[in-house]
Symmetry: C2
Subunit: 246 residues, 2 copies
Amino acid sequence: MTDTVSAAMLVIGDEILSGRTKDRNIGHLADIMTAIGIDLKEVRIVADDEGDIADAVNALRGHYTYLFTTGGIGPTHDDITADSVAKAFGVPCEHDAAALALLGAHYARREMEFTEARRRMARMPRGAVHIDNPISVAPGFRIGNVHVMAGVPAIFQAMLDNVLPTLKTGQKLLSATVHCPFGEGVIGGPLGGIQKAHPNTIIGSYPKYRDGSFWTELVVRSRSAEALEAARAAVEAMVQSLTPAA
Amino acid sequence: MTDTVSAAMLVIGDEILSGRTKDRNIGHLADIMTAIGIDLKEVRIVADDEGDIADAVNALRGHYTYLFTTGGIGPTHDDITADSVAKAFGVPCEHDAAALALLGAHYARREMEFTEARRRMARMPRGAVHIDNPISVAPGFRIGNVHVMAGVPAIFQAMLDNVLPTLKTGQKLLSATVHCPFGEGVIGGPLGGIQKAHPNTIIGSYPKYRDGSFWTELVVRSRSAEALEAARAAVEAMVQSLTPAA
């Protein structure tokens, strides 16, 4: 599988860790990465702390093809993502001329003052390139393999849509789901045997619990359609063999 | 703030990273930790990979007062959390006699076979102590400062309820919210000044976007009720000063 493209995500913000805000971006990024054939391998959530953010950026950007961050790029004192990413790359964080022009024109059109706080949103690490923000103008940015985006879900999603066409994508991981009316204790043994017999697949077992009883969703994944179908058929046959005849 | 108690969370499972399952445990743990005065400082989500899990366990357990994990403790081949945590601690992972007895009795009562897969759920690192599971019997476990719990939300929540009375808790972080009808660009400057003037508080600004316009939730947090009220009053006065008279 030499054409695997990997990604990590860094969610930045005290409000997620305190529970005040429930993250909605992880699930969205996970869905999109799966859809385009990039393996999301790790997610971290860290507080609004420059050292913590920079350490996480450096740990993740070196390890995966892409890193996507959300949060901390607004105009207030607790928005320190641009500074932290600059620190991680060892470059200065400075007002970007193009971003200043973009934001200046935006506020002039709306007859709003271009405050110092708003000017903060034009700061980015030297060498960064913009990620367009069709909703509220203030751009995200990319530096190296790190894509820095907003935390507000509507803006994050719009920025991510602009990033997607620039990404190298891998061969898509195909998947097939087999519904299993039994709990994992029933199928765990035979399922392990099927996994061993089908090494080019990843077989996942997801326990579900409802109204006092367990059932299981069995998901087979593979980059090969043939391997996928062979393993799926084996899983289905196993489930059938355990089902009492009607 | 010498009485700060910190925590990290490790969410284990391919299904979260692929987007198939949307995590519901992070928000729950965050809410509970905030309620009892423990600072949740970091969350990581990793795949079902023994090395990745062990590395994350070791990185996090050394850094924070407590580590809580969810996922990967069921009976199937992809449930490798117990092995990975044992590896992190450098101890063997073995069938625990008490857990075997508990599970054996449970399946005997229900006249169900105690399969090899089900016996897997009794495996834990040597020296671990049980975390009771009132829903489906198979225990979670604690070793050192690491609490290993189920990923199914109902079971995770029940296990966590059993863990809470055993935790050392910190002085609760108090909070007060001020609604602000303006976007961050308007209040960013003065808010930064208030933060500087109230160093014993953490002032967060959370942008909200709805129907084409921005508003902001301003949240002041502090372990001191007096410091909290002083900063809250300053934030409210600032918002009032920007609001046009009726």
